[in-house]
Symmetry: C2
Subunit: 236 residues, 2 copies
């Protein structure tokens, strides 16, 4: 497992190292440098970041709360391996929450927000046009960031955290069950959502968002991984 994680090699700064570990591992999971079901050994994680098992363990515990890591008693931590059911739950939850985010955002939408979102979509399109694995990873991450940005503009910290979790888990699900390998189909839909937001057309924006989620979910093949999942089931 020689994967390079985001070791910012943050100097022994006083800030919380377990947070840095959580973020680095989350990024690695989200853009698929860490495959589902990968074992995350405490001492390995710890030494990679230059901290003791205590801190590594805290970071892994945080990730388990977000559903990105599964902790098994006396067996350790593994990158989550969501079942088809869990995958459906993730998208069902998004269908509930994201329209609410839209409503909240419409009510307080400013031109600054529009600008930030436009900038985000611009970056998205840039990665779309690039080639190579690095661009693919950046594209995956960036396309989720649009939804996170929206959530942050809702002004509701709780919804924002829920969306953090749901977007991250979506990425895992897409990694496992995605047909086209990426949710890139959504770029034009993101544009349309932004357009509706700028027109303060709440109903249309919600409709487009639900449509967008439908599209992402339609790209999944929830039978695909039954083989590997079976193997994994034995391990459980």
């Amino acid at each position: 497992m020689n994967i390079q994680k985001d070791i910012k090699s943050a100097e022994p700064a006083g800030e919380d190292r377990s947070l840095a570990i959580r973020d680095a591992l989350r990024n690695a999971i989200i853009d698929r440098r860490l495959a589902p079901a990968t074992k995350l050994t405490e001492s390995e994680v710890g030494s990679l970041f230059g901290v003791s098992r205590t801190v590594a363990r805290a970071g892994l515990q945080m990730l388990s709360f977000e559903g990105l890591v599964r902790l098994e008693r006396n067996r350790g931590a593994f990158v989550a391996n969501p079942s088809p059911e869990e995958a459906q739950h993730v998208f069902a939850s998004r269908r509930l929450i994201e329209p609410g985010v839209i409503s909240a955002v419409v009510g307080r939408f400013t031109s600054e927000m529009a600008e930030v979102l436009r900038e985000q979509l611009h970056e998205e399109s840039r990665y779309l046009s690039e080639r190579g694995a690095v661009a693919r990873r950046a594209e995956i991450k960036t396309s989720g960031d649009f939804h996170l940005l929206l959530a942050s503009m809702s002004g509701n910290a709780i919804l924002e955290r829920f969306m953090d979790e749901l977007v991250a888990r979506s990425s895992l699900v897409i990694a496992l069950y995605g047909r086209s390998g990426t949710s890139s189909c959504g770029h034009s839909e993101h544009l349309a959502i932004l357009d509706a937001l700028e027109r303060r057309d709440e109903q249309e924006a919600k409709r487009l968002m639900l449509h967008h989620i439908d599209h992402i979910e339609e790209d999944l093949d929830l039978q695909a991984r039954s083989a590997t999942r079976l193997k994994d089931a034995l391990a459980i």
Copy 2:
């Protein structure tokens, strides 16, 4: 702080002690044996449960993820003290999620579920008729349990976890800002929701649920605690 927590005095069983600590503290917070902003010292928690600081710390970290405890670097853990804004966020989130729970439940509602809910409401009414602080606590907890039971019947583990968190935080909010001191006004509304569910009337059940949440929120006085909150603000 001589509050008796749920020390099940669980014998040194092999199961996870930090989970037991989390649950006991959560119960204590939810039914208000622990006041908002109370300091939770690691060594105190640890000795109360007969474990080391390591385990106590893990339990506190879990509670901080649920928003019931606030962790401050180098200062420790405190029972959360949600601001009026957070209070509104909690209920805004519930208004998004609970109708979704209703929809999910209606689609798979069985007579067994109806029976379980009826039993739950029966217990609720029993506490309503009793007197004394113990019954008040049980009543608070039980009225939240109705919503949790519904969430568990949705078949969506993610929504269930979100609701766990939202109901727990609601209890904190009601403790801080509630006028009548309890959300008991809701018992008849719970009955009405169950009735609509049994008729498979999804729209009506959703409407009643939203109404119910409105009622709970209307009972709040979000200015009330500005004094204590100010004092607390100094501490921050």
